[in-house]
Amino acid sequence: MKLIKKQIPLAIVFVFGVLTLISYYIPHKKSVDFMEMMNKWENIVAAFAFFLGLISLFYSHYSKIARKVDGWGYSLFVYIGFLAMVVPAIYCHGKQMDAAGKTALGWSFSFIYNPLSATMFAILAFYIVSTAYRSFRIKSLQAFVLFVAAFILILGKVPLGQIIWTSVLGWTGAGVDQVIDWIMSYPAVAGKRGIMIGIAIGAVVTSFKIIFGIERQYMGKD
């Protein structure tokens, strides 16, 4: 049992991990063919994962409806939303437009998916503005620096802000664009580059840990 549950999966990960890594650096037809095969396999596995995810989502919401937990009515909309998009998609063979104009799928996309998705994101703007008022407190030097940088960036990003800058601080000779360029080219890039290098090193280390069987959480608890 240990062989099937642990040793074989670890061996598969090791062999294919090393082969994929090496293939990246070998510009030979064999390695290109191998990468192509791996990509196709990956797509097939991803499709199964997508299907499993869907079953899991449906099961989780079904149990909420069956047990009538708080807010179970919202779970109904998972099925309604799914059917509202999938049924027209099957009926119209995935086409949103035909010679007569919008198909049922095109209609569902334009008048159900589109406004719902946009509304969800638009609501964020209201919370951001409200939070900016209630929570952005300049209580330390760091917060002050952050505020000044944010202030200049926001001001410089809109024409009205640029007009205000020119009329109030025009005498300094520094345009808001120049100040923004400096902020973006030096402090912002320095910070972002540090984060990117950190993430890249972390990803490399984690990959090696998985390939060599040190990190095994992906195998589950058993």
Binding site: E42, N43, A132, V158, K192, R193
Partner: protein, 274 residues
């Protein structure tokens, strides 16, 4: 007494702020202020110049990876860049790795090609949605048709005039990725850097500062950020669109945020030293 009154401002019902923002956003839509967009940022100018200097007939691959949630910022960018490509008589291929983008691509291409008398299959082609972007991007490096053997209508992609001479990234003059996700990082890392393909990005305003390192090193040839970036690109191609018309609302909303932060902090200072 004054201190207590001022403290009430911090307990202000958030719905008043919501109402204020709604007014600020809606008012310019009903009655546009029409403020001029005076400046063109360096990165937008670079994106425009790169596209503008491509030889007519060059193949540009557009990867449009955004859904309706980021549509107000990104769709105007995409339309402006597609218009520019058609103006320059470039060949256009469109791919996407976000399922929700398919309808938006359809909407964009319903209108724009007609403005330039461009024909589907001859001047542009749209490929179907694909999952697992990293695998697809890697595959396209050796054989484009290994993944995209058919276009969105099921036609054999190899037979389309627009695809003549295109086998992999080596035959592409430019990749344009407009996205509200981290797809641009993937394009840079897996395609731009590895196969030396020029990449131009279009992103939301909030994620724009994160791409500074790629711009400094030349890994990105240009970058369009948010609705302002779209408005700038529209002014460069001299075709005002949704980016330009949305600038008024953006103006006032940004200034409202600044005013609210300033107000709350001034009140805090008064309370502290009163």
């Amino acid at each position: 007494m004054l201190k207590e009154k001022l403290q009430k401002f911090f307990k202000l019902d958030r719905r008043w702020i919501f109402l204020l923002l709604a007014i600020v956003l809606f008012a310019p839509i009903i009655k546009p202020i029409g403020l001029p967009n005076k400046t063109i940022s360096r990165d937008v100018q670079n994106a425009y110049t790169y596209m503008d200097t491509l030889a007519p007939g060059s193949f540009v691959l557009f990867s449009l990876d955004y859904d309706p949630s980021t549509r107000p910022e990104l769709q105007p960018q995409a339309i402006a860049m597609i218009r520019h490509a058609f103006q320059k008589n470039l060949r256009v291929g469109v791919v996407t790795y976000i399922a929700g983008a398919t309808g938006l691509i359809q909407q964009a291409f319903e209108k724009v090609p007609k403005e330039y008398n461009k024909v589907y299959g001859k001047d542009y082609v749209i490929f179907p949605y694909m999952a697992n972007a990293v695998a697809v991007l890697t595959q396209m490096s050796s054989d484009f048709y290994g993944i995209y053997d058919k276009d969105q209508d099921g036609t054999d992609a190899r037979t389309l005039p627009v695809m003549q001479g295109i086998k992999n990234y080596k035959n592409m003059a430019l990749v344009v990725n407009i996205t509200g996700t981290s797809m641009l990082d993937i394009w840079v890392a897996y395609v731009g850097d590895k196969y030396k393909v020029p990449v131009i990005g279009g992103v939301t305003a909030i994620s724009q500062p994160g791409y500074g390192p790629y711009l400094q090193t030349g890994q990105l040839k240009g970058l369009i950020g948010g609705m302002k970036g779209a408005a700038e690109y529209e002014s460069l191609i001299k075709q005002p669109g949704k980016g330009t018309s949305g600038i008024d609302s953006l103006n006032l909303a940004h200034l409202l945020v600044l005013a609210l932060i300033l107000t709350s902090n001034i009140i805090l200072l008064i309370i502290k030293y009163l």
